[in-house]
Amino acid sequence: MAVNKKIRQFLFPSLTPKFLIRASLVALSAYLFFGYICIPIRIKGASMEPTYRNGEVNFCWRLRYIRSEPERFDVVMVRFAGNRVMLLKRIVAVAGETVEFRDGQLFVDGKEINEPYVRYPCNWNLLPRRVERNCVYVVGDNRSTPIENHVFGQTSLKRVIGGPLW
């Protein structure tokens, strides 16, 4: 009987001022947390496959680069348009480094870079280019598409808004 009462109280709580304040605080915290700190995202597209697959759900962790700078091999969220559209990409070079592709192989400052996350071979060729100050160079893990169709390149650090939670 007491258990029944507790369940009923849990499912249909009395609308006391204390309860309303608590519910409002929970709603406000959830809004702030999921709206600005840990934003739910749905991955659209195959540019990060097989690391992240089309249709997967994840969260953008906005506090990731509060105390540190993004580094090579980090997977980051790049603000693409407005507040809703983000690109999920991997940093392959940071400011001051020279990035280049030769027959699908990534070279940074002339050194061949091992990329275990790239599973699909490609034949990309890209002439060397230096990453500008306050910028990073990002590429997707899925290099099976022709280089012209893959969205990648240098972006400002200001646009790097965080990273995926997992």
Binding site: V78, F80, A81, G82, R84, V85, F152, G153, Q154, T155
Partner: protein, 166 residues
């Protein structure tokens, strides 16, 4: 007693002044927003759109664009300065390539840096289907400049923000 009456009147005048300033500035913002709505309608195309509707839309370009409009896009062939006639002509040609088109704007942020000049930063999402059946779904960040000419807010600059530079 007279003093209190003067204070109350002064407060009322200040409130009315603030309200008027807010109302009129909002009004200008509303008018600029309206231009984006018209642009969205202007570009959008329903399947089986009648030639008359299309001709009417193309003719109404003068309500949207200034005599000279600068377009900047990552695709160099699109960038340049266009006259109103050129815009109408290119738009008509482009519309013929699609059986269905829909343009939506999100996260529109409008500012008034100078008198008679407004800037808008927004996310544009263009979806549709080409006449050959190919699906189109493009999202970009746009930076627009509008000038108040003959009491109309007209687009003078449209720039597709380049987020990633290869």
């Amino acid at each position: 007693m007279v003093k209190i009456k003067h204070i109350i009147i002064a407060i009322l005048v200040v409130i009315v002044g603030i309200w008027a300033a807010f109302y009129f500035s909002q009004n200008e913002e509303k008018r600029v927003r309206k231009q984006f709505d018209i642009l969205s309608e202007w570009v959008s195309k329903d399947p089986g759109e009648k030639a008359l509707t299309m001709a009417h839309k193309i003719r109404s370009a003068g309500d949207l664009f200034a005599e000279e409009c600068e377009i900047k896009a990552p695709i160099d062939s699109l960038s340049g300065s266009y006259t109103l006639e050129e815009i109408s002509s290119y738009a008509a040609q482009a519309r013929l390539q699609f059986s269905k088109l829909s343009l939506h704007f999100y996260d529109l942020d409008i500012e008034f840096p100078d008198e008679g000049r407004a800037t808008g930063l927004l996310t544009a999402n263009l979806t549709g289907r080409s006449t050959s059946g190919e699906r189109v779904d493009e999202t970009h960040e746009l930076q627009c400049v509008l000038k108040k000419i003959d009491n109309k807010w007209l687009f003078t600059n449209l720039e597709v923000v380049e987020v990633l530079k290869k």
